[in-house]
Every structure is written in C-alpha cells, then in structure tokens.
C-alpha cells in the first residue's frame, strides 16, 4: 500500500522533495547562485529522467487522485519544460537576488499542475488549480524594481481570482444538479438539462480563461509583457499545457455525452481565438506581446484538435495530437522566449525593430529563432508542421470543412507575422545591429535541446506513435 502510494505519486513527491531541499538551503548559509543553479538543473534533469520509469495506472484516495501512463507522459512534458526554463533563462536567474524563491514558486506551481492533471474530482481540481495559479502571479512580480512587473502580477491575480470564482460557481452548480463531484460518477448523471448545460458553461468559461481563449484573453498580453521572461515562458508553455491536458480529459471523459454542445462552442471560440490572436499579433512591436498574441492563436489551433471529440471507432480523436502538439510547442515557444530573453537580458532590447541586421552579428541565435518561428508557423521539416497537421486532421474528422479552411487560412496570416521577425533578422539593413552576444553555456545547451527537439520530434515518427500507443 505504501509502495503503491510512493510509485503512483512519484512525480509529485520528487518535486516536493526538491522544494524542501531549496527551503533548507535557503534557511542555512545559502549557496552562490551559480552553484545552486547548477545543482537545480541537475535535479530537474534527474526528475525528467525519473519521469520515464515506473509509470503505471492507478487510483488513490477513493478516486480523488488518478494516474495513467498518459498522465505520466503529460507530467513529464511539463518536467521537460521546467528543465528547459532552468537552462534557457540562466542569465536572468543568476542575476536575480531571490533565485531560490523563484524556483520554489515555480516548482510549487508545477506541483499544483501535477495534482490538477491527476485530479479525479472537481474539488481536487479546484484546489490544485489554485496551487498552480497563485505562485505564478508571484513569479510575474519577480522583477521587483519594475513597475510593469507588479502591474502584471496584479492583473494576473485579479483575473485569476475572477475566473476561480466562475469556476467555483460552476462546480457548485454541477454539484447542485447532479449530487456528485467525482469524475467517474458524473458522466452517468448528465442528461443535458438546461441547468446542467449552464453549469458546464461556467466550467468551460473558467478553462477558457486560463487558456486565454478569446473573449477571455484580455489579461494575457499585459501580463506577458510585464512579467519577467522566465515567468512569461512558464505561463505560456507549462501553465497553458497543463490546462489543455486537464481540459481535454474533462471534456472527453466527464462531459463526453454533451459532445454536440461543446463541439459548437469549441468551433466558435477556436475561430474567434485564431483570428483575434493573429490579427493582434500582426501589429505588435514588443517581442513579448508578439509572442503573447501568437500563443493565443496557437491555443486556437489546440481547440481545433480538441473539437475532434472523444475516442471513437470511425474518426481520429484529439488526445494524441493535442499532447504531441504541446510537446512540440514546449520546444518551439521556449526556444523563441529563450532567445528573446538572452537578447533582452544583455542589451535590454525587446522590440522587433531592434533585431534588424542581427544575422550579421549573431548567426546561431538567428538560425535558432528562425527554426523556432518556422515551427510555430507550421513549416516543414520542423515538428510544428506535423503538430499542426495532426491537429487539423483530427479536427477534419467531423467533416466540417469550413472550419478547417478557416484554420488553414489562419496559418497564412500567422506566417506573415512570423516572417516579419525573420525579415528583420536576415534581410533588413541596419548600421548598428546588436553586437555579438556571448551566450551562457547552459542557455546554449537549452537552445540546442530545443533545436534538436524541433527537428527530430517531427521526423522521428515513433515519438508520435508512442503517444498514440499510450492512449
């Protein structure tokens, strides 16, 4: 029994141990940032490797906590993202006065996400969601001397509180209508009565809020711009990814019988999200805001894949494509943020116009950025191409071709603004481009891992097949 507990909850336990270790280090004499960072990188790498072993399905605490091979994989994708963040943002982290706290907050949020993905019950889900949100708001506030950073944190905490309120209201309605909050008991009690639909809409809105689906996206750009780059990338990759995972399993496993209702909701929101994200991204100057809107548009694509519906004999389901897309998204988006962070932390420049003529001085950074952006735009041979194509293929299973056409045409719009950055780096002339930047070795390692991930995740088909086989 104890063994069972240890094995099923191993991801959470390891992260908790690291958090306590950090607390002890902080309480004691403390360590130099450099050596502590190195230690943490090592621990996070070990954590990621440990995520591959002893993965089996099981249920704990009377169904409050559930896990399966697929859930372990999803957790490990988040582990990978956190490891990459610790590599890519080494420059900024080393300079930070409160680095141990930053990691504590980040790992606490990660812990919350783990519980959230594993939750088997709406209450557990709500608690873990809060654990996953509040530390992120504190992370957004980490540039203590900048006013925009506090502003971002404030905006984030207020909007999250608001969405939590909606979520809690939805949960109480669900309980009121069905008399249960357990994920396994809920499906049998759903009959599509108007009050149930309303309760579901509230839940849906809360998810949409966290995923920054239009029209619940308004907090995103400001928070992304104000927060330090490491927090932004955590928010846009890890946080979004974990919400997408639990959103998917809630939709398919719990509310599967309401498929007709949420298919239409997903379709409309997805189109609105793609179009809004893309159109706003067109005019952004600041690279962080630019990536914020581009990530909104990417969420629109995730919704296309989600709309394919629960696993079924006649058409493909969205589980493997969405998980695969998020894996690809981890590599591509983190690479883009990482490069922006390197440039910003060494020169303070964050505008796309500042990147003009960058290729003359920083070849490696430019090629990596181009690779990341092409992957986000879905151009082969990068993995983003496969990710987007599988999402669209899954979405096309319902034979709604107008929807798929809109999504495909949105890929053109998104290509336009991704090419804007490429054009600035490779084509525009600039008398005084940013001088050659010395890249920290661990950042370089992070970028190389991302680059390898972008190229290989797509071409090596067994990665996708592995995800599919866990399904």
């Amino acid at each position: 029994m104890v063994n069972e507990f240890l094995i099923l909850m191993k991801s959470e336990l390891i992260v908790t141990v690291i958090i306590f270790l950090l607390l002890l280090i902080k309480l004691g004499k403390g360590m130099k940032n450099e050596s502590l960072l190195m230690l943490l990188q090592l621990l996070l790498l070990l954590n990621f490797i440990a995520g591959f072993f002893l993965n089996r399905a099981g249920v704990l605490f009377d169904g409050m906590y559930q896990t399966s091979a697929m859930i372990f994989l999803q957790k490990n994708i988040l582990n990978l993202a956190v490891y990459l963040i610790s590599l890519l943002f080494a420059d900024w982290l080393k300079k930070s006065e409160h680095m141990p706290e930053f990691f504590m907050l980040m790992l606490a949020a990660l812990l919350g996400m783990f519980f959230m993905i594993s939750s088997g019950n709406l209450l557990m889900f709500f608690l873990s969601l809060e654990l996953a949100t509040i530390p992120v708001a504190a992370m957004a506030n980490f540039d203590l001397e900048k006013r925009t950073s506090s502003e971002a944190a404030m905006k984030m905490i207020l909007s999250s509180a608001f969405s939590s309120g909606i979520l809690l209201f939805g949960i109480s309605l669900v309980y009121g209508v069905t008399g249960t909050i357990s994920f396994t008991a809920l499906p049998e009690t759903l009959n599509g009565s108007p009050l149930q639909v309303m309760a579901f809409v509230f839940l849906f809105a809360a998810f949409a809020f966290k995923l920054s689906v239009v029209p619940f996206h308004l907090w995103t750009a400001d928070v992304y711009e104000g927060a330090p780059m490491a927090a932004t990338s955590f928010l846009s990759v890890v946080s979004k990814g974990s919400i997408a995972f639990i959103f998917m399993s809630t939709l398919y496993k719990v509310f599967g019988s309401m498929g007709e209702i949420w298919y239409n909701m997903l379709m409309i929101l997805s189109i609105a999200t793609m179009i809004t994200g893309n159109l706003f991204a067109l005019r952004q100057q600041n690279i962080k805001r630019f990536l914020a809107f581009s990530s909104i548009a990417q969420v629109g694509f995730i919704l296309v894949g989600l709309s394919s519906g629960a696993p079924n004999e006649t058409r493909p389901d969205g589980i493997a494509p969405v998980v695969y897309f998020i894996l690809v998204y981890v590599f591509s988006n983190l690479a883009a943020f990482g490069i922006a962070a390197v440039i910003s932390s060494q020169t303070g420049k964050e505008n796309i116009d500042d990147y003009k003529g960058l290729y003359k001085t920083n070849k490696f950074l430019c090629w990596m950025m181009a690779l990341a952006l092409f992957s986000l735009a879905g151009i082969p041979p990068t993995a983003g191409f496969f990710g987007k194509l599988f999402l669209l293929t899954a979405g096309a299973g319902k034979a709604n071709y107008m929807f798929i056409t809109v999504a495909a045409l949105n890929m053109i719009v998104s290509l336009y603004y991704y090419l804007r950055v490429v054009r600035a780096m490779f084509m525009d002339n600039n008398e005084q481009p940013i001088e050659n930047i010395r890249i920290n070795p661990s950042t370089k390692l992070g970028l190389i891992i991302c680059g390898a991930g972008i190229v290989l995740t797509g071409l090596l088909s067994w990665i996708y097949d592995h995800i599919q086989s866990l399904n």
Partner: protein
C-alpha cells in the same frame, strides 16, 4: 535504383555545405553535389528504360514504402513513372545551371548554396512521392528557401516580393491541405496513399469539393489566373539563380500536382471543372502575352511570359486528351529549361550592363557574342521556332486540344495559338533592341561570358535542342504516364461526359 538517394544526396550536400570552412569550399561542394544529381538523374532514366525493356509493366517503378506515421496510415511511399522522370531530369538540369551561374555570389555564399540545394531537395522529394502527405511535406519545404533567397539576395523591392510569394504560395498550400484532408476522409480506408486512393476511387461528391481546392491550390504555384501576381514580383526581385529555380522548378511543382494529385485521383472532378480550367488558362495565356508586350524590364518580361507559357500547361491538362496532357508535361520541361536559360542570360547581361531596361541597352552582340547568341536561341525557343523545345511542346498541346470538337475547345485553342504571334512581337523587339543596333556608349569594355556561365548556358541549350530536334524520346517517356491518367478518365460513366 534506390529513389531515396535523390533525397539523401541533396540532404548530404546541404549538411556538408553547412560544415565547410569557407565560401570557396561551399561552392565546390555545391557544384559536386549538383553534378552528382545530374548524373544520377540520367542514371535513373537509363535504369527506367532497362526496367521497361525487361518487360516490367508496373505503373510505378522503383517503389519503396515504409510506414511513417502508422496511426494516420501515412507511409513514406515513393516511386516514379515517365512523368516524374521528365520532371526529375528538368530539376537536375536547372540545379546544375543555377549552381554554375551563382559562382560570383559573394554575400553569404554558404547560406546561398545551402538554400539552393535545400530547394532542389524539396523538388525531388515532391516529384517522387506517391503519398499525398509526403508530397505536401516536400511542397512546403520548398517555400521557405524561396522566401529567403529572394529576401536576402534579391534586388529592388525584395522584401515585398518575398513576402508576397511566401504568403501566396502558403495560401495555395492551405487550399491543397484542405483538399487533401477531404480526400483522406473521403474513403473509409483513411489513407493518403495515391495508388490506394486511385484504386478505391473517390465518391463524386468528394471529387467535386476537393478537385477545385487541389487544382487551385497547386495552380497558385503554377500561376493560375488570377493568382499569378506573385510571379512578376517574385521573379524580378529574385537573384539570378533564384529566378531560375522559381520559374524552372517551383512553378512546375504546381503543374505536376494538378496532373498527378488532382486530375489522376479525381477524374470526375476534372471533367466537371474542365470548362473553367480552359477558360481561366486561356485568359492567362492571352493576358500574360499582352502584359509582356508592355514590359521594358527584361526580368518582368520573362516573368509575364512565364505566366503565358504556364497557361499552356494548365490548358493542356484541362483539355483532358492524351496528346494534350503529354504536351502539358513536355511544355513543363521545355518551359523549365527555356525560362531558366532566359533568366540566366538576363542575369549575365545585368551583371555587365547594370540595367535590365531594354531601352537603355543596344548592340551587345558586338562585345558579348556568346551571351547574345544564347539570347537569340532562347528568344526563338520562346516564340516557338521549330527545332527548339518550345515549338514541340506547344504544338503537341494544340494538337491535343484540337481533338475536342466542340466550339469552346476550338475557340480556346485558336485564341491560344494567336498568343504565339504576340510572343513573336515582344521577343523579337526585345532581342533586337538589346543585341542589335549600334553599341551603346560605355559598353565597349564589357566582357563576354566566363567559363561557368558558358557551361551553364551550354547545358541548358543542350536540353532545349535535345527536346526540339528529337522529341520522341521525351514523349515516349511521358506517354505511359498520361495514358494511366486517361484510363481513369475513360472509366467514367458516360452520362457525365455528355
């Protein structure tokens, strides 16, 4: 022969180019790679004939199939028939010529050669793939190198042109993608495999939705009217080798896709829409020809004339007769060689005179006899002089078109024939202004072509002459391929043919 070599060789070349130390080595590696491609494409032709002589009647030869994404039924499936081999030969000719004329590129040479070779990889992969997913993969691989080639090494309003080209081509691919997904879900087998799809046959409803998506999508690549606007801007801003690759290879991807993916897999759709195709391509032929008359810039001239000449490709496909389709493929090969040569010559002239305006030039025949001779040859080929490839190809298209007895086809054919007169006007005027007449002041010290330029031109001229003087080797190569498409068309129920 192992067809995957056609992909692996450019890939290897590209990787080595990235690893070498300086520009000179990059150029040499690029040239060696292109020469090997050239040799390999001829070997492929030889092996193909050997296999056919042995009596192999399979539609596709040298097939290879490996599972790629089994859960989606996607497999890496390649194979060639005569049409693919003709296109592969064309690609090899243009690649080696393009690599040779770029010998003097000094700006970021290594990246330039890397992108050129990457583009050729996309083209080879496209021409050999028998799985629609793989086909689409290679189609899109070729887009970004074009964008960067124009944007970085181009001239004039290069950023605008590069953007326009990338976005329009991506728009075309988006339509293709939706069409492909429609075909994928159009059968219960859920497959992207072309051979399998053609055996199963798609339902008429699927065909009438997916055919226009695929045809217009691929059509954007081959300058279908009214989506031809990227052609003049893209070609005129691109560097010489970029224009050669664009017009010589990239536009042919579209034509090949229209034929292989759209018409072959959806014959009923082709029948349904053939009237529209004919009307649109006739407009492109005439519009392109008249627009060319108004141009003063040599590159714009050739770009608009490409719109007109590629109209013949689509016209040939739209006519739905065997001869016309064979003509369409021959026109692709012929136009690819001819237009690559034309752009190469324009590049050579521009490098020396620093202008492309035909009114500012004159009498270069006196100082640059070699370049001028090539200009004459390519001009005459463009206006369809017998003995050169243009005549053979266009003639075949006309003959095939004439097989349809009804007024629409007749009118379209006659209108297309008339465009040749317009072609003669603008070609003779341009060549006359540039090469003949008194020598312009300041041109006395200009030099003739260098070794690399001569070699590139000779290779392409050899190709043009080989088709022009002995067209049968090419048409015999293509015929079985178009016959397979015609078979599908003949199998259609009679009432649809009307």
């Amino acid at each position: 022969m192992n067809l995957s070599l056609l992909i692996l060789l450019p890939l290897l070349t590209a990787v080595i180019i990235l690893l070498v130390r300086n520009a000179r080595q990059a150029k040499i590696v690029g040239l060696i790679g292109a020469t090997l491609q050239f040799g390999m494409s001829f070997f492929l032709l030889y092996a193909f004939h050997q296999e056919r002589l042995k009596g192999s009647l399979k539609q596709m030869l040298f097939e290879q199939q490996y599972n790629w994404f089994p859960s989606w039924h996607i497999s890496y499936h390649v194979g060639v028939d005569g049409i693919s081999i003709a296109m592969i030969l064309l690609t090899a000719f243009v690649v080696i010529a393009g690599v040779l004329v770029s010998w003097n590129v000094t700006k970021m040479t290594r990246e330039f050669y890397f992108l050129l070779i990457l583009l050729s990889l996309g083209a080879y992969g496209f021409f050999i793939s028998l799985d629609l997913f793989v086909l689409f993969f290679f189609l899109e691989i070729a887009v970004i190198p074009k964008y960067l080639l124009i944007g970085i090494w181009g001239s004039g309003k290069k950023e605008y042109s590069a953007n326009k080209l990338a976005l329009m081509l991506m728009g075309g691919s988006a339509l293709v993608l939706v069409g492909l997904l429609g075909m994928y879900f159009g059968t219960t087998e859920h497959t992207f495999d072309m051979m399998q799809l053609s055996n199963i046959g798609l339902s008429p409803e699927t065909q009438s939705i997916c055919f226009p998506l695929l045809f217009v999508g691929f059509g954007v690549f081959t300058a279908i009217f009214p989506f031809h606007t990227w052609v003049p801007d893209g070609h005129s801003s691109a560097p010489t080798a970029g224009s050669m690759f664009l017009a010589g290879i990239s536009m042919k991807l579209g034509g090949y896709g229209c034929l292989r993916a759209a018409t072959y897999l959806m014959p009923q759709g082709a029948k349904e829409y053939s009237t529209i195709i004919i009307v649109v391509s006739t407009i492109a032929i005439l519009y392109g020809a008249f627009a060319t008359m108004m141009q003063k810039d040599l590159k714009y001239m050739n770009a608009y004339s490409s719109v007109s000449h590629c109209g013949f490709v689509l016209l040939g496909i739209g006519m739905l007769t065997k001869t016309a389709m064979t003509g369409a493929v021959m026109q692709m090969v012929s136009h690819g060689l001819m237009t690559a040569l034309f752009f190469a010559v324009i590049g050579m002239i521009y490098e020396r005179t620093h202008t492309r305006n035909i009114n500012e030039m004159g009498g270069i025949l006196k100082v640059m006899p070699f370049i001028s001779t090539i200009l004459f040859i390519v001009g005459l080929c463009s206006l369809g002089l017998p003995g050169l490839s243009g005549f053979v190809a266009e003639m075949t298209v006309f003959m095939g078109s004439w097989e349809n007895p009804d007024p629409l086809h007749r009118i379209a054919t006659i209108a297309a024939c008339l465009s040749i007169v317009v072609t003669a006007v603008y070609i003779l005027r341009a060549v006359g202004r540039v090469a003949m007449g008194p020598l312009k002041q300041g041109y006395e010290s200009l030099t003739d072509a260098t070794w690399n330029e001569k070699l590139a031109a000779i290779i392409l001229v050899a190709g043009i002459l080989a088709i022009g003087t002995a067209p049968f080797w090419l048409s015999d190569l293509i015929n079985p391929g178009t016959e397979a498409i015609m078979e599908k068309l003949r199998l259609l129920p009679v009432e649809i043919i009307k």
